[in-house]
Symmetry: D2
Subunit: 383 residues, 4 copies
């Protein structure tokens, strides 16, 4: 099966199963001269890591990343960056009952129906553990965006029926990481937390959503018709496990707006450029970015692995049986998905910036075709 | 700019501007031996054609397709199918005021900002006219699906605040094409029609949405992680002009469901296969199809070209000015987008069936590597 | 069948059969602001056209190209350029005997074995007629290269055992187009011509080769390891019908050279840049261009369609039979392949220049993200 | 820089520098149910390993492969296979003089000119060490081919001016691995060996070539026009470091053959299929395989790293200087390239078999869409 690659010029390739030996990701297409070491990546992985709080799985993974290639003396060299993250705390035994008796609404069945087999430990390749690779790759993309003054940020804006009021970008930057639920509105975060704990206690789980927003994304990104900015961002977000909806701008609500109310007049910016008077368009017009912030929402369904009693069938024995999923599972997905959404945003934006000539594909700065020695100080080991 | 290609194995490539000489689409990857002539494609184009009713643009395009290659004696030959649809009724003059003074919330500005120029007549490359190519390609994909007993159908389920109740697949087949608004619930269709006419009279426009559903899509389609069935379907739908949201299964609503309520137990089908007891999952689990119908919704914002008075700026003269868009425009998009949604579904499903080995890539039937003469009866001209 | 696309960022997609209604090619990824009209393309097509001389097929094709999209007022707009070239002089009747009785060493059999059918008229999709599309696309690429001071040129350096002595780039520019055989060494051209006429008279055909060379290709092009400049150029050249060998630099002969003799010392250029003292390396080191001219050779086998008596079998009747191919065929391929080689070189170089950031993907000049009006003067029709 | 991916459906992605921490390769698209463990891969790596004999570099690499994902209980699961091979014996110090003073005719300069930097130890990313990844991926492809009765084999047919007479496929199978030079003609192997030792003694190096051949490649493979079997095989072979020529069938020599002499009549096979009476066509007609063996030759230039005195310049200091490359280097490349050529052949054939429907993309056997339990015996650890 293919499907393990993302990006046209900033190319990410991944492998790994939840209980396999290691997760791995190769980033090809990162320009040379980007300052990068394992800590830059680790910092992001730590945000996504399991076992951070009471509302995440208790699996104890250090998620320590190793960079096998692509850098020298702390700078990228333009060649592919291979990263490996070992799986340390896999306990497959608990998954054995599901080998031929799929968990309700999980990928257990579809993987087996496709391949005639599957890595069944911890959900194997279908596990959200895969997103550790995405966050690692996204961390590198994020470093590139930093150099181009582009920022992305996300927060959890709804859990079950608890919805946060709109927050500013600055509030997201300030508050998202302050609480376990990663909601930038502290008071709502408390209510979300209570809700989650309630479902957790009942052996149940709950859905939710994430709001994302960008700053500094240049105008002109996107390659409509099939690769419009919104189409590719939609693919990126819908690839995140357990998502059921993607919206940008007014999203689903746009169906109820008239043209007159939604349209935004043009005016001149201080620099004399045409700018729309508002941003109900969500930063994208005609499939191409306008230079205004891109924002939207992604919806997750509730985690399917729950301790409540459910029914399944065993296709080997032909028997119906009761099932209680007692592994270590998250009762809600968005809190740990915030860094994943940010990673996919990073990857999408960087890819389009490369495609549109906003980033030099060979090197972060300097002229194409000019060698220099700035990026390869001699290694101290050899001096 | 790239972005004019769709599909990994069933490869569609398009060109054309709204007021250019012709639209064109090349389909590469269609197996040999499919019965196909221009009428098969024309039939679908006629459904999408402008000027069908009072609620579509009055532009008078015959949208007559010509097949330049890829078939012989009424069957495909496995080689690329080149199609051309001439633009006959382009009147660019009305668009001249917008050359350097972009219409509010339209792609006028972003195309110029990206390229420093644009085909400004009728919106040029950013026009929904491009979807004539998609419908042409989708018609071929649909013919392949017919041979594999796969069906797709869509209808308009909401216009403004007028929402249709849930309808069955059979109701969609029966009623969708009966009314101008393409809503399968006749009574709602009437109410939608009135709503649209009201906005049209006011010189305004309105948003809406389409519900889609499939029958017979085999289980096992999808290539997670990045190319899960939902991710690629999301890209396909979000590429349709003016869409702002894509949902499948419970969609946005899933955020409010608990795991227990959304999860579906497994039972045995009559054939002894595991099947879920319901389809709240929307036909996709773990990014791979379960064999249940795939369904979802797509949202459109209101058309941006409206006769109501708005404000814009002219970047050449530096002046602010009033603008009234008086071309020929649709007051609402979903009615004409129904065949477009079906086309993108066809293309997505066929592509995944090819990727998963459900369709023989070289020929519709027979064994790979066996020549025969069934598909090339001698041409009468040569006898 | 796929395989109808070339290029990663400068994307060419083709269709068409020798005796179909039309050939077609879509170029996606051409920057905006390139001056371009049909004549620019026609000029190159005329060089490749059949019926130019006694040593080409007598098929009388005007090969008139129509541009359906992608330009406005004589400049490209950054959107895909769709081109169509109608087939006017197809006479399929002569090919009927081969429908189920393949011509020796031709693609007749393999196409039928792959697809169970084929467009049999004139060789259908397997015909060298397809290269009309390549030359059309290459003409656009060539225009881009002109703006970047890159030149490519080819000539026929061997026909049968008649080999031209080495010629300079300037001699190729001056003499290649002077004679029907397109050899830049006039005296050898005469000898080649006699040789070809002799084989033609005998009802036979003969192989040959083309030497190609570039000027101004910037250093730094190529994406090793799998997409090294030589690997992608090799693919491009081996895709040309009837080629059996690709060499660059010392080519096949390199096997007999020692490292000491082949290696080239580094010295400083007048500008103070490291330059090799020679160019036995053929302009490519480590899979990346050095800035020196890229040069090499491509070999063609003799055309397979010859009037001499041969034997074949009819898979429908099960009978052996004699065959004499009496259509209109070239007795030798390189003379008409010179513009094809140049086209594939153009396409390969432009694609790599886009990938390496040497060409702005959105527009030929100006800053990314700045709209302007220079490329869209109002059409006289509308004034 | 991209260029680290090979294959359309059997997708190989690589990373790693000669003196980096590790080499890595991800194989995506291998069907489920293939018996595979690390030993299958190791066996092939051992054939390519440095330090095997007096005529290879003395670098002591165990080249021990670790499989991080994609298999369970000894069978593939259809998910990506991540492999890592650590670099153990890197001694970068010797390369320090070349950081800003490039070795003659090596990739040192072009990498620095492209990226403004490079991994300079051991040639970094430009090193032939990368081919360890290709051999690892090719070993998996080879296992698939075994199951489909396809065989490939190569041997060294020329070193300098010492050329082997034609050998049979059986002789290649029997003799190639018997001698250090990997020539299937033992007597010629001895002469080659002496030649190499002579150049080695002189501090020089020498070029050479490899002949390859297949058995059992099905007819119908190839996707002309741009992805003809020969075009993609050409790319694969020209991607191998230090190659300067690719030929198949009569290769370069075809230029001197007439059509009559080269063409091959059709006759009936015992099974009643049309077969050509010979194989001067090299197993490919019209860009598609005929079912006859595919064969050809690849040429390598002499290794550029030689101890003989040469001249270079230092772009940092602006000084000219003498250079003697005293690392551990092969005096000739083809002997160790034999497994690399076989790997690239494996990868190319498997990719085309997947594209043409000859291999089920989801699983090695059984019906698409049928789950079973045969491939996932419970792990002993969990019993």
């Amino acid at each position: 099966m293919n499907g393990n690659r993302f990006g046209r010029l900033f190319q990410v390739t991944t492998y790994g199963e939840s209980h396999g030996d290691a997760m791995g990701v190769t980033v090809s297409g990162c320009p040379a001269g980007l300052e990068l070491d394992a800590d830059d990546v680790q910092k992001e992985l730590d945000r996504r890591k399991p076992g951070q709080s009471m509302i995440t799985t208790s699996r104890g993974e250090p998620d320590a990343v190793v960079l096998n290639s692509g850098t020298q003396d702390g700078y990228t060299t333009g060649t592919p960056i291979g990263m490996v993250i070992e799986n340390k705390d896999a306990r497959s035994g608990k998954y054995e009952p599901y080998v031929t008796a799929p968990r309700p609404s999980h990928g257990d069945f579809t993987y087996s129906a496709k391949f005639g087999t599957r890595n069944w430990g911890g959900g194997g390749r279908s596990s959200a553990r895969e997103t550790v690779n995405w966050v690692a790759a996204g961390a590198i993309a994020g470093k590139i965006l930093d150099e181009h003054d582009v920022q992305v940020k996300a927060h959890v804006n709804q859990i079950g029926d608890v919805e946060a009021p709109p927050v500013t970008f600055e509030e997201m930057l300030e508050h998202t990481e302050e609480n376990d639920v990663r909601c930038a509105h502290p008071e709502t975060a408390d209510r979300m937390m209570k809700k989650i704990e309630q479902y957790q206690k009942e052996g149940d789980s709950i859905g939710g959503s994430i709001y994302f927003e960008t700053r500094g994304v240049p105008r002109g990104l996107g390659a409509p018709r099939f690769d419009s900015f919104s189409a590719r961002l939609g693919q990126a977000m819908m690839a995140i496990p357990a998502t059921t909806g993607f919206e940008f701008g007014l999203g689903r609500e746009a169906r109820e707006w008239t043209g007159k109310d939604r349209n935004e007049d043009w005016t001149f910016s201080e620099e004399g450029d045409p700018v729309p008077v508002g941003n109900k368009h969500g930063g994208i017009q005609g499939g191409i970015t306008t230079g205004q912030p891109v924002f939207g929402e992604v919806t997750w369904h509730a985690p399917t692995s729950i301790p409540k009693e459910q029914k399944t069938v065993d296709w080997e024995t032909g028997e119906e049986k009761d099932i209680q999923v007692v592994g270590r599972h998250d009762p809600v997905l968005p809190p740990r998905a915030v860094p994943v959404v940010e990673a996919m945003l990073n990857l999408t934006v960087v890819d389009f910036m490369l495609l549109g000539g906003h980033i030099n594909p060979d090197r972060m700065d300097g002229q194409v075709g000019q060698y220099d020695t700035d990026y390869h100080p001699r290694s101290p080991d050899n001096e």
